[in-house]
């Protein structure tokens, strides 16, 4: 260890609590990011109730429900992986993260399928069927694509974060005593889940 590192360690201490606090603050910003979209959704739903009703009829409730189950279960597996690491079982912890990522992939596959179906029906911005929609119904699909699209980006980012965390556990930088990065990755994953819990009823269930 060089003298630089020694000085660094003498002056600066590893602060798990601070890192968790930072993560929570970041999650606030994520909630508010989606919050802006929820405001727009509320305003346009209020202005076009029938059109939003008609729009939600076009969505596939079964796929939405399956995806909800996927994400809820993946939140469980990521929580279990934290407990596994706290108990010192690194292998089980990594396995559980991998299962979480598999759920994320399954979710994305369904999403891809859903969007492809919309595409084939011409229900994509700029396509024939889309241009024939009423203004209100177009607004529904604008928001559908924007909000679930932004959420999908978060699913991908969350999965990549978890991949890095798994790598850290394997390398030994995230350990039984210093598991904050896994915990933060898990917190982020729960956020992805929570946002979906709101998106699912807003688009698929409230009809």
């Amino acid at each position: 260890m060089s003298s630089d590192d020694a000085l660094h360690d003498q002056m600066i201490h590893f602060d798990s609590y601070g890192k968790k606090l930072g993560m929570w603050l970041f999650l606030f910003t994520e909630v508010l990011l989606f919050g802006g979209l929820f405001i727009v959704y509320a305003a346009y739903r209020f202005m076009n109730p029938e059109a939003f009703h008609a729009g939600s009829q076009e969505l596939d409730l079964t796929i939405g429900a399956i995806n909800t189950v996927f994400l809820l279960t993946s939140s469980l597996t990521v929580a279990l992986s934290i407990t596994a690491l706290q108990k010192g079982d690194t292998k089980k912890s990594i396995d559980l993260i991998m299962i979480t990522i598999l759920f994320a992939l399954a979710f994305m596959f369904n999403k891809y399928y859903e969007w492809t179906m919309k595409y084939e029906h011409g229900l994509f911005p700029g396509m024939d069927h889309y241009n024939e929609l009423s203004a209100g119904e177009a607004q529904f699909f604008n928001l559908y694509f924007l909000m679930t699209g932004l959420h999908a980006v978060h699913v991908i980012v969350g999965a990549i974060i978890l991949l890095f965390v798994a790598w850290g556990i394997k390398k030994g930088t995230i350990t039984q005593d210093r598991y904050i990065y896994l915990e933060n990755g898990g917190l982020y994953w729960h956020l992805v889940d929570v946002i979906w819990i709101y998106l699912f009823p807003l688009f698929y269930l409230i009809i």
Binding site: M11, G22, L32, G36, Y44
Partner: protein, 543 residues
């Protein structure tokens, strides 16, 4: 506070590591602060010159040197750079980064790497904003507010400008998050919340706004980009969108952002005044609470930007009442600063001069703010030069002067040398006179009914416009003297560790310039931040 232990061999943070890479990959909050300082100053000078060009165009009625389209683009770029690249990040990123950790007795911020990432995001955002000059139809011509539906229809580079603002917002969020955790977790032992100096307190209130408000404008700007690239109609009334909804979403962030701009400046003034009157600040806790109150109430007043946008009468009245509420904590601060001066041992040095100018100009800006905050009066002066004069008095006359004051205040700490005080005073005086000559006529013009954002005006508005333009040259001269004097100060005499005899930790317990981790040992705090009783014996000023 414990005595300073026998120091390790003192190496200042510049000498701790050498070479270009030691800057580009540094985690040291002081180096990051300086990188911000140079970048922000550069952007400020660019936007300042754009402002001079606008004043030059307005020296007489009719076309002088640019056609209306160019003028629209110039004022938009001036606004975008000044707001997103200078005044929002300015004080937190430069002086927050440099002085927050020493002020609270911390060796660095909580997330040094994140701090560096924020700087890179800032630079990327800044370069993107400037890049709109280079290609296509040039920079956006929408005004810095990017109001829909014009912003989704114009052919200028709105998407890039908006993306730049989004990235800069992200940088701002990360800085705020970093400071919040730093203040929660890294205060020195003994520094309770109410022993924390007032500049950190102001940053604390600011950081909460940065974290909680910025994402809303982020998503709004993304919606503008989506609307432009996908051709969907989120805000375009022709496609079923609601442009007033855009204005709501925009101001939900951008009004709190006004307090991101001014609160740190208020914090700096609270920090500087006690040092130069050698007296405890009047009403410490009230200043703390008023900062928090401004941050809190600031969320609920955005509607006062939209009195003429077609909101319901009830909504407008409520927003007007709330706007009056937010002026109370601001006024409290002004009374506190003035009361601090009362019976103090006043030592008129450049930082104090800038603080006094802040109080004077912020008061004018604040009182004219009440005029535009009042529903009935605003209907008449909305979108006139009165508004332009008002916010320049607050932003430049307030925050800009606080920024300049803070450079003069921490100069010996940052660079370890002292500038020429006499020339600093002369530069200040010319800048102060120039500033008021530029902006006071704008208040008059607004009352006479001259609308903002036009390259031309009626002949009866000529005289005040000419005074304003002449003033802009005086202001530029003042700024030039200030800058040259500061650059020359690098060759000035070596500064002691505590030339102003301040009792805050950044002066009493660090060298000039500070060492890599600021302190030899983290100090334990027992005194209040502005406890000037017996300060001569407490301070150990080292050469």
């Amino acid at each position: 506070m414990t005595a300073i232990p026998q120091p390790r061999e003192y190496v200042n943070f510049y000498d701790a590591k050498k070479g270009l890479m030691s800057w580009l990959v540094t985690h040291d909050h002081k180096r990051i602060a300086l990188m911000y300082f140079y970048a922000i100053s550069g952007f400020f000078i660019v936007a300042f010159c754009l402002g001079l060009l606008m004043r030059l165009e307005l020296i007489a009625p009719g076309r002088q040197l640019m056609d209306p389209q160019i003028y629209n683009q110039v004022f938009t770029l001036h606004g975008v750079i000044m707001i997103f690249l200078f005044i929002i990040p300015g004080i937190p990123a430069v002086f927050g980064n440099f002085s927050l950790p020493p002020l609270i007795g911390a060796p660095d911020v909580a997330f040094p790497k994140l701090n560096l990432i924020s700087w890179y995001l800032y630079v990327i955002g800044g370069l993107l904003a400037l890049s709109t000059l280079m290609f296509g139809d040039g920079p956006a011509d929408t005004g810095w507010t990017f109001y829909a539906p014009y912003s989704v229809k114009t052919g200028t580079n709105v998407s890039i400008a908006v993306l730049a603002a989004f990235i800069l917002g992200f940088s701002s969020i990360l800085t705020g998050l970093n400071f919040l955790v730093t203040m929660h977790r890294m205060r020195a032992p003994g520094m309770t919340w109410f022993k924390m100096p007032l500049f950190p307190w102001a940053l604390y209130a600011t950081s909460w706004i940065q974290v909680l408000a910025t994402p809303v404008v982020g998503i709004t700007l993304l919606m503008i980009i989506a609307e432009r690239t996908l051709g969907i109609g989120l805000f375009d009334p022709a496609l079923g969108g609601d442009p007033v909804l855009y204005q709501h979403l925009f101001w939900i962030y951008s009004h709190p952002a006004v307090y991101i701009m001014v609160l740190p400046g208020m914090g700096l003034v609270s920090e500087m005044i006690p040092v130069f009157v050698k007296k405890s600040i009047f009403g410490y806790k009230v200043i703390v609470y008023s900062s928090l109150a401004i941050a809190f109430i600031g969320y609920f007043v955005w509607g006062h930007h939209m009195y003429t946008s077609g909101m319901s009468g009830e909504a407008r009245i409520i927003f007007s009442v709330l706007t009056f509420l937010v002026s109370i904590p601001s006024a409290i601060k002004v009374f506190n600063w003035v009361s601090t001066l009362y019976k103090g041992s006043i030592d008129v040095k450049p930082p104090l001069l800038y603080s006094l100018a802040f109080i004077f100009q912020f008061t004018i800006g604040g009182l004219t703010g009440l005029v535009v905050g009042a529903l009935a009066a605003d209907i008449h002066v909305h979108d006139t030069y009165f508004v332009v004069g008002h916010f320049h008095y607050v932003m430049f006359g307030g925050t800009g002067f606080a920024f300049l004051g803070a450079i003069h205040f921490w100069y010996p700490k940052i660079w370890g040398t002292m500038y020429n005080i006499k020339w600093a005073n002369i530069g200040f005086a010319i800048l102060f006179v120039g500033f008021n000559l530029v902006y006071f006529p704008m208040l008059v013009l607004g009352m006479m009914g001259m609308p903002r954002r036009y390259y031309d005006y009626l002949p009866e508005f000529t005289l005040p416009n000419q005074i304003s333009t002449w003033g802009s040259w005086i202001m530029a001269l003042g700024l030039l003297i200030v800058i040259v004097n500061l650059i020359n100060g690098r060759k000035g005499p070596r500064a002691s560790t505590n030339p102003w005899k301040s009792v805050t930790l950044d002066w009493t317990h660090t060298d000039s310039p500070p060492s890599l981790y600021n302190f030899d040992e983290i100090p334990t705090v027992t005194r209040g931040p502005y406890d000037y009783r017996d300060y001569e014996n407490y301070i150990k000023d080292k050469p």
